[in-house]
Subunit: 153 residues, 4 copies
């Protein structure tokens, strides 16, 4: 069975938001918002505020890294259930284009879900408010590995 | 000439703090503090607050990524001067040990300073308040590449 | 204009093979074969031989890294022309599944082609001889950055 | 206890060479030679041959990736014993300087040895035949993660 043929998410959008509010204050204060868990992918938004800015009138790198990491966390939990102790072991980001000073969208998908490790990729986009992702023009691309605690499956 | 035989930093600790205050609100609000630019390395601290926490009673990954990225930015500016438009092109982090819920220290050093790209590595540690870095027990390790704008040398 | 809306490749399959034969003996001896440059992607094969094996009866990592790097090189040259001095600056690979002891296929696509840097991703698959790529089951995933020499555009 | 305070290697140089000869033909044919396992680090050489060359009169990237991967494999086995099924899960390389057309030396050290994952870094150098590593001028820098099979500790 492939990576993305997923019947039902093991965590809901509401559950993930509650987890962020209570247990991930950094992500919560940043304005990260999980939009959708669907067909084995996760869509998340970083709601723009002026504190995101960096010189050049663009969104700072750490905002994008935090967004990608949270999107990947939501993706992993959507597959294995609310196993809070799943942790990132590796994250690699390539910054590709200067984001506009506005919302950033992240789409995460799984490359491999194993018993001990989950590997996914996250594409980041400036939200152009068209309602579709500008897939040919990502602002950043991330691969991330999460370690899954024993007996959590 | 090697990477780390540096006579004088091209930006001071005070200048960098001013830059953060005015131009990098995300880093500033997080409580990042540049401690030292010396012998071609940069030492930076993330001053702990409860918003750093994630499930497991440990510091969340994005805090460490933001700290490492800022330490590398300070390192690059210490070499090329206050070229604000230097930007990260790639950052890769390995999370190694669960940090204590406390301050995180980052030490950045240059691997290669070229005309177009600067590559460095950043080691992160839980601050054990001993006054020395616990070099055998990093909590994370980062390599990062910055792109240097043309004519900034 | 997006990444993958490409009219015509600036290097042919035959030209690339000639370049490998004459200038990249390591890739040539390994049995790398460029299959196709099409729609902005590159498809390359590593033709299996027993020297690829590693303990576990699987293909060794360096074979996959060499294949991915060569596929990315072909992709870059297909966009900028036969600029031999384009060089890898960063390559990051995640090994996802144990490859079968057989041919490995690599599909490379561009994430961003800039004036100074080209960033792409390469997905690697065990060739199941079905004639289509088993996209849900990559054996490895690579992101790579190439540096483009000045005035080569 | 720190990473590099190691009493005795759990595999000898001779054992590793035997393993390469019998089970890693790709590394063996390339001319990789383990020089030393000492104080928790591993030193390995890639013995130059003309097939290493790439355009620009320099050593091709895949040679350096294969060398770094093999050095990390030797490092892991020196810690956990001859567990052949330890496999790379992630490898990230930054190419820093153009290597001379000659031998390449790799020095690997452990960043974290856990029960499930081992993370290390490998610095690569052109061998200047001085008998010491030119530490200020690495030609490449690698971080790599190995997965350790269950019950191998």
């Amino acid at each position: 069975m492939g990576n993305n043929s997923v019947k039902q998410a093991k965590i809901s959008v509401a559950q993930f938001h509650k987890l962020c509010e209570e247990r991930l204050p950094f992500a919560h204060e940043m304005g990260l918002e999980l939009l959708e868990i669907k067909d084995g992918t996760v869509l998340m938004r970083a709601n723009y505020s002026e504190k995101y800015l960096r010189p050049g009138g663009t969104v700072s790198g750490p905002v994008m890294m935090a967004l990608a990491d949270a999107a990947m966390y939501a993706l992993v939990l959507s597959r294995i259930g609310p196993v809070e102790l799943a942790v990132t072991t590796n994250l690699s980001i390539n910054f590709l284009r200067k984001p506009l000073p506005g919302d950033i969208l992240a789409e995460a998908r799984m490359l491999k879900l194993g018993k001990r490790l989950a590997v996914g990729e996250v594409s980041l986009y400036s939200d152009d408010k068209s309602g579709t992702l500008p897939r040919d023009n990502p602002v950043a691309h991330v691969t991330a590995t999460y370690s899954i605690p024993p007996q959590s499956a």
